[in-house]
């Protein structure tokens, strides 16, 4: 076992004959591949092997992709602690990675590895076979060295799944490449979304925006005073969903029991106590606290989420995409607290709350994040392709 992969695929023969012929795809052990260990990075699922392929895994195979392995991930994909996301690309052992994006993990892993990372629109990818944690916010992100590869893969795996009723009943998104005319394209800068950048990064981001303006893009400055509420809403709603989602890990049907429990209640407590790491535990406890003790706060968070969604929709409608810096969590050298984790994803998690597509592009000193209207993934990818050449040049 190496430091990046927890499981290596043994497939050498290339199945199918689709558009992804020979593409080496690395995924995470939270996406079901029949027969592969699928523990989602948690002791709660130690030794669990997937029974069937996830829908999007089946589609990858159909398109001729080669599943080269699953990479080390944080527990249930929450945060980037111990995650090796992006490393298979950086070490060139894979051509594309699928990484769960709960609050920006896939995008910030891309920034970290110096590659492109897309979190597609919510509802674009089937969730069947995904061992998730926050169903209403998470989505598999796609990482690759260039945007075209992300688009090819997305075209192969996106769309309706008769086995996943949670996908909205919508027309398929138009993901085809399209020409971008800078002079007819407006990019929005939401002041509050830029957070507090170091002087160096601030300078880099300004420089990047300057290049875009020089290339002819119209830059529109926007404001959303409620932007800081995204973190709060994500933290409350996300932790409540996580608490519900983790309820099934009770060691009754699978998972490990701790010997010595005198009754089922003790069995639950000891099994769950041994199964989850402390970081996830604090998240689950936070969710249980809002469920059982502060339900009103949860209801308020749901209401605020709806309001944030419509405010964001209004802002996004004025431009072709929003541009902001994507700044990853600072490595503190110690396991982060919940607050520190949330602070680390402050620049990305709003797209999880709203379900908008978000694309991170590598650039010198600071990664650039583009966020489009929901289901505007096609336009966003085209924009990304165009912008990448402009901003990548360095300062």
């Amino acid at each position: 076992m190496d430091s990046v992969f927890v499981h290596r695929g043994s497939e050498t023969a290339i199945l199918g004959s689709g558009r992804l012929q020979g593409l080496r795809v690395a995924l995470q052990p939270n996406l079901s591949v029949a027969g592969w260990p699928t523990d989602a990075g948690s002791r709660a699922l130690a030794d669990f092997k997937a029974l069937e392929d996830a829908t999007i895994v089946g589609r990858l195979r159909q398109a001729g992709a080669c599943l080269c392995g699953s990479t080390r991930m944080s527990e249930f994909g929450f945060g980037l602690e111990n995650s090796q996301a992006g490393e298979a690309l950086r070490t060139k052992t894979a051509d594309l990675e699928l990484v769960l994006d709960l609050m920006g993990e896939s995008r910030l892993a891309a920034a970290r590895a110096g590659v492109c990372g897309l979190k597609p629109s919510y509802g674009l990818l089937s969730r069947l076979g995904l061992v998730g944690l926050v169903p209403s916010m998470e989505c598999c992100g796609l990482l690759a060295a260039d945007v075209a590869r992300i688009r090819d893969t997305l075209q192969a795996i996106a769309g309706k799944d008769d086995l996943d009723f949670s996908l909205p009943d919508e027309e398929p998104s138009d993901l085809a490449p399209r020409a971008i005319e800078p002079r007819r394209t407006t990019l929005g800068l939401v002041g509050e979304a830029q957070g507090t950048l170091s002087a160096e990064r601030d300078k880099a981001f300004r420089a990047a925006v300057g290049k875009l303006a020089a290339a002819g893009f119209a830059i529109k400055r926007l404001s959303m005073p409620d932007f800081p509420l995204f973190s709060l809403v994500h933290r409350i709603v996300g932790s409540v969903e996580a608490s519900s989602c983790a309820g099934r890990y009770d060691s009754v049907r699978y998972g490990r029991r701790v010997p010595g429990a005198r009754n089922w209640n003790e069995m639950y407590l000891t099994a769950r106590g041994a199964a989850f790491g402390s970081h996830l535990k604090s998240y689950l406890l936070s969710g249980a606290f809002f469920q059982f003790e502060r339900y009103q706060a949860f209801e308020n968070a749901c209401r605020i989420r709806a309001r944030l969604l419509s405010e964001m929709r209004r802002l996004t409608a004025q431009v072709d995409a929003l541009v902001s810096p994507a700044v990853g969590p600072v490595d503190l050298g110690a396991p982060p607290s919940l607050a520190e984790t949330y602070a680390g994803f402050a620049s990305t998690l709003f797209a999880n709350v709203t379900g908008q597509p978000a694309l991170v592009l590598p650039a010198a000193d600071v990664a650039i994040q583009l966020v489009g209207a929901r289901r505007g993934d096609g336009l966003l990818l085209a924009l990304g392709e165009r912008l990448l050449g402009i901003v990548k040049g360095g300062s």
Partner: protein
């Protein structure tokens, strides 16, 4: 001070769908434990619930059959609690936005006056697994059977409109009839396809205060519901009269002790919206399509039976209580059998015979067209009622036509005057009866004679004809 009971019911009805609510596993009892399970109803990692269309339709028909208003938008929530009968730490139920609101049932109260009992709402819910507690040597173990986990249920929550055990029992009977009518469930408390909890409180009669209620569970028949409510009302009234406070708790009905006993409260968790099951949006067209699938409901059908067939209200209610019985009756009438004869034979002969043989009316060996042939022989006096009953019995064991059974048994009615005259004379001689005997005694001897002649004929004599002949003999014709 006089007290009255304030009662509301919460009724779980198991829908008779072929599959479970969120997967394709069979919704069936009696199979090997855990035979009917899959990654979805065991909530394996990566599983996704898929709401069954049939379950939604059956639930919707049930709501419409009870006069409830289907809501354009309803949503599943997670009822969170941790117990081994739940495979995921929450139960999918509709706590905030239920499938329907309103509706109700009109019953006859103790004095026969109509009383409407309102339904607050009806929501969908999945059933939980069954726990079996056993001993393995000296170690207590709990076994979980997930066959029932995810079975489709609806919960009917009434308004606290009930004031007596009678109200509750009549409501449940009518509810069962109506739900059977729409075909959504058998609603058998004995078989567990209908489970009833009652919320009971007391207050001074005539006031409108709402006092602390006690929930009573574990009643296994409609009768038990009545008994449990009566007991609980008396218990609370005695407590209040003694100056004790009624505290909020749950009690179990013990049918042997005929008493309610307090139980340890099950932990009630919060209900949070479920992000995995999509919102249920019902279009007006869909609701109308469901409405058009509703059969004629029992009250309407009974009214029609009275108007169309000249039956009494009680007779019509009896016939329309069970949709199969009503269908059978209409089929008989459709075959040309007089309504009253159809009612009589169905009620007193066929139904008991079907029940005795453990058959279902809808699939009995004697369907309406076959019985109609027999009844026509009777109506034409070709056989008498005695014989008809005998032939009916034989029809359950044979596929032969009723006529063939009549011929084979030599059952055809004897109406021939000469033959009957001979029989009458023979009996009168044997029993030493005179004409004078027959004229006196208020017809007692007459009845005796007819019985004897019938017997002598092997049950084949036409009693009407005997009467005629006797009248002639005695000169009373």
């Amino acid at each position: 001070m006089e007290f009255e009971a304030v009662i509301g019911l919460e009724i779980h009805v198991e829908l008779n769908c072929p599959t479970k609510m969120f997967c394709d596993c069979p919704n069936r009892y009696g199979d090997e434990p855990n035979a009917n399970t899959c990654p979805t109803c065991l909530w394996f990692p990566g599983a996704a619930p898929r709401l069954s269309e049939v379950a939604l339709e059956k639930a919707a028909l049930l709501c419409l059959g009870l006069g409830a208003e289907l809501q354009p938008t309803s949503v599943f929530d997670q009822k969170v609690y941790y117990y081994p009968d739940l495979p995921k730490g929450f139960q999918l139920s509709q706590a905030h936005l239920p499938l329907s609101r309103g509706g109700g049932i009109e019953i006859a109260d103790e004095t026969g006056k109509p009383k409407r009992l309102r339904i607050h709402h009806i929501h969908m819910e999945e059933d939980v697994a069954k726990l079996v507690h056993e001993m393995e040597g000296r170690v207590p173990i709990s076994l979980v059977d997930f066959n029932r986990a995810g079975a489709p249920l609806v919960e009917i929550v009434t308004e606290p409109d009930f004031r007596s055990p009678h109200h509750a029992m009549e409501f449940l009977k009518a509810l069962r009839t109506q739900v059977r009518y729409v075909g959504s469930s058998e609603c058998s408390m004995e078989n567990g396809t209908m489970r009833v909890d009652a919320n009971i409180s007391v207050r001074p009669r005539g006031t409108s205060q709402m006092n602390t209620k006690v929930e009573v569970k574990n009643m296994n028949s409609v009768r038990h519901v009545g008994d449990a409510i009566a007991y609980e009302f008396a218990r609370q009234r005695a407590a209040v009269e003694a100056g004790e406070a009624v505290v909020l708790h749950t009690r179990l009905w013990d049918p042997d002790k005929k008493a309610t006993l307090p139980m340890r409260a099950k932990f009630e968790g919060p209900c949070v919206p479920d992000p995995s099951v999509p919102v249920i949006a019902l279009s007006r067209e869909w609701i109308e399509a469901m409405r058009s699938r509703l059969p004629e409901m029992p009250a309407a059908r009974a009214e029609r039976f009275v108007a169309q067939h000249g039956l009494s209200a009680d007779e019509a209610t009896f016939l329309s209580a069970d949709p199969d019985v009503a269908r059978y009756f209409e089929a008989l009438v459709g075959e040309g059998i007089a309504p009253r004869m159809a009612l009589h034979w169905l009620g007193t002969q066929l139904l008991p015979a079907v029940k005795e043989r453990g058959q279902e009316l809808a699939a009995t060996k004697v369907p309406a067209p076959r019985l109609a042939v027999l009844l026509k022989l009777l109506a034409r006096d070709e056989i008498n009622a005695n014989v008809a009953r005998k032939v009916l019995g034989a029809m359950f064991d044979s596929d032969d036509a009723p006529e063939a059974i009549v011929e084979a048994g030599g059952y055809r009615q004897v109406s021939d005057a000469k033959e009957l005259d001979l029989l009458i004379d023979k009996v009168m001689v044997e029993k030493k009866l005179t004409a004078a005997d027959l004229q006196g005694g208020q017809g007692k001897a007459m009845g005796f004679l007819i019985g004897q002649v019938m017997q002598a004929s092997g049950g084949k004599a036409n009693p009407k004809k005997i009467r005629e002949l006797l009248a002639k003999k005695l000169g009373t014709a």
